[in-house]
């Protein structure tokens, strides 16, 4: 009887913790949604309200002009296009190039393998800020436009990570497949392309997702390389330096609406691919 009671108390305690955790994780997001449905007058109310309320009548009322403003804001719309172009290109390039490297590192025998593994691992931790000045000078000297600049430089963090995680996946594929394909007369590259690559499809999805999220969220390079090219700005730069259309103060309502819009694709990915994302994140950091 006491064990049963104990178990029930534990159960209740667990659920209390679960609820607390969920509130902590979600509340800022709820607050952003709440604020995105407020007009300037509603945002200026003191004390603030936990659901959008009319300042005079105090009735619950949702103000949707912020979303209209965001979707008619040329800079924001261009930001969506830029972000999609940059994140997609970075993802595809990293997967293509990274899977080559991952296959070589995980399955092929060659001299200097340990050294190359160390280089890739070291690169996964390379601080972007350390080369910011150098990249900025290089891009200006070569006259590379901002969008290609972002696509190329984002590979600084997506490529080593992709290669590193794919190496781990390739290594786990049974060597017999590789050997029997070679016995059947397939060249190593054919083996890679026609047999191994399809087998790593799940790993490609995982690393692709992480590369996409990383590129979508990147801020430092985007901010620096578009400092004199507003048309090339990606969503994070636009959200952080929001160009106001209507209000003269900081347009927090629009910023929140814009922030929600730019987060929705990521939240959708998280819910669809939760398992894969968790697997990829931990593979990158824990597996050796």
């Amino acid at each position: 009887m006491t064990t049963k009671m104990k178990r029930r108390i534990n159960r209740i305690l667990l659920w209390v913790l679960i609820v607390l955790m969920a509130v902590w994780m979600l509340f800022p997001f709820y607050w952003a949604i709440n604020s995105s449905f407020k007009s300037e007058g509603m945002l200026a109310m003191t004390p603030t309200t936990f659901i959008p309320r009319d300042p005079v009548t105090r009735e619950v009322s949702f103000f949707t002009r912020n979303y209209e403003a965001v979707f008619t804001n040329q800079a924001f719309l261009r930001g969506i296009v830029n972000s999609v172009i940059v994140a997609t290109s970075v993802t595809l390039l990293s997967l293509a190039i990274g899977s080559f490297a991952g296959f070589a590192l995980g399955k092929l025998r060659y001299r200097g393998k340990t050294a190359t593994l160390y280089v890739i691992l070291a690169m996964t931790m390379f601080p972007a800020i350390a080369v910011l000045t150098g990249l900025y000078a290089m891009i200006n000297n070569l006259g590379i436009p901002p969008i290609p600049s972002m696509i190329i430089t984002y590979m600084l963090f997506t490529l080593p990570f992709t290669a590193w995680v794919l190496t781990a996946f390739f290594r786990e594929l049974p060597t017999e497949i590789f050997q029997s394909a070679q016995v059947d007369g397939a060249s190593p590259f054919q083996t890679f392309y026609m047999i191994m690559l399809p087998l790593t499809a799940p790993a490609l999805v995982t690393t692709g997702l992480l590369a996409f999220i990383g590129a979508w969220n990147e801020y430092l390079f985007a901010l620096t390389f578009t400092s004199i090219a507003p048309d090339a700005r990606t969503l994070p730069v636009i959200i952080a330096n929001f160009p106001s259309q209507f209000s003269r103060q900081i347009p927090f309502g629009e910023i929140m609406a814009g922030g929600i819009v730019s987060s929705v694709p990521l939240i959708a990915l998280v819910f669809i691919f939760q398992r894969r994302i968790v697997a990829g994140l931990t593979a990158g950091a824990v597996k050796g």
Binding site: L14, I18, M21, M25, P28, F29, W31, T46, P47, T48, F100, A101, A104, L108, R109, Y110, R111, K113, T116, Y118, I120, L121, M125, F126, P127, I129, V131, L132, T133, G134, L135, A137, I152, L156, L159, P160, A163, Q182, G185, F192, L220, L235, P236, I239, A240, F252, M256, G259, S262, S263, L266, I267, L269, V270, I277, L281, T282, A285, V286, G288
Partner: protein, 357 residues
């Protein structure tokens, strides 16, 4: 096709390996190694971006300006009789202005902070107080966030490792703070931290009877770092939790069954079984997160701008705002060296598994 000897096959395999690795290494050479060397080189020059002045080699001058510090004793202010002036209201001794004791030649030192030691007042001066403060703040930020994230991340990991209905859903929920762009979450929190009751925190504190509802969380120096730490802990605890969860899942369940039989309670089980078995995972997670925290940029730049710098945002403003290529390169190098120390520790603790010999 005729079958060839093993060594020929091996040679072919090796050649293929080099070809497959070439694109990755060429790209990394172009966007990491070359710029890194150019940053090292530029850090020894007085290069100013888009300036007509010729670039000259200046040796360690940038580093000197960045890192020079001095500690001077600060004498109390004396009245005509030679006695220290004491504030009649607070009883505090009045000190001379810090700039009077700091050296001015060849480069002017400016005060960073003052502190008391054995009843004497000292002043810490630096040629670039902003950078010294940025380094100090970044380290404080990193230590505090990583520690809090470890504790909270462990709790979160233990929760989502327990068996309950909707566990998969909860794991997706804890991914949300990690997944949304830092630019967005920084703006979200900046709005919640507004310095009046339009902000969430001021409203709640005011309802609870704490503060006057006008706490300047982001402009009062005393509140700035705690605010940054709170935001970052929210944003990155999920990542820490997932790393720890991966470690938890590697622990075989029968260990706990044996402990149950022995009558060890859950708290004892955690400290005597789980924690020691997680040591490796925790070490890796700590260094990994420390590296990340030390290069924090987005959060500081977006929320605090130039009110208070992290090492990375200092570098950014020197480059973009002041166009000081040489000087910002030097600060990049300092960051790189600090991070390298941590990275080497990380590599050591992780180790590389290579199966070719």
């Amino acid at each position: 096709m005729a079958r060839q000897g093993g060594s020929d096959l091996a040679r072919r395999e090796q050649r293929l390996a080099y070809w497959l690795l070439a694109p990755t290494f060429i790209i990394l050479l172009a966007i990491a190694i070359y710029p890194l060397f150019s940053v090292f080189y530029t850090s020894f020059t007085n290069n100013v971006f888009a300036s007509a002045a010729p670039t000259e080699f200046v040796g360690f001058q940038n580093y000197q300006r960045l890192l020079s510090m001095t500690i001077r004793q600060l004498p109390p202010r004396l009245d005509e009789a030679g006695r220290p002036i004491v504030d009649p209201n607070t009883g505090a001794v009045q000190y001379e202005s810090a700039v009077t004791v700091l050296p001015r030649e060849p480069i002017r030192f400016r005060p960073v902070t003052q502190f008391d030691l054995f009843g004497t007042r000292y002043v810490l001066g630096a040629t670039d107080p902003n950078f010294i403060r940025a380094v100090w703040d970044t380290i404080v930020f990193a230590v505090a966030t990583v520690f809090l994230e470890l504790v909270l991340g462990m709790i979160v990991a233990l929760i989502v490792n327990a068996n309950f209905k909707g566990r998969g859903f909860m794991r997706a929920i804890i991914l949300i703070p990690w997944a949304i762009p830092t630019a967005v979450s920084s703006q979200m929190w900046a709005y919640m931290l507004q310095p009046n009751r339009t902000g969430f925190f001021n409203t709640v504190f005011w309802y609870l009877g704490l503060g006057n509802g006008e706490i300047p969380f982001l402009s009062d120096p005393a509140w700035q770092l705690p605010s940054m730490i709170m935001i970052d802990v929210w944003k990155t605890t999920p990542f820490m939790a997932l790393l720890l969860l991966a470690g938890l899942q590697l622990i075989p369940g029968d260990i706990y069954e044996a402990a149950d039989v022995d009558g060890a309670g859950p708290v004892r089980q955690f400290f005597q079984l789980t924690l020691p078995l997680l040591k490796g995972t925790i070490a890796v997670a700590l260094v990994f997160r420390t590296l990340d925290a030390l290069r924090v940029f987005d959060l500081f730049q977006i929320v605090l701008g130039q009110a208070r710098y992290s090492m990375a945002s200092f570098t950014y403003y020197e480059l973009i705002q002041n166009r000081q290529m040489g000087y910002s390169s030097a600060s990049s190098v300092v960051i790189f060296l600090v991070l390298s120390v941590f990275a080497v520790t990380y590599m050591r603790s992780l180790g590389v598994k290579s199966d070719d010999h």
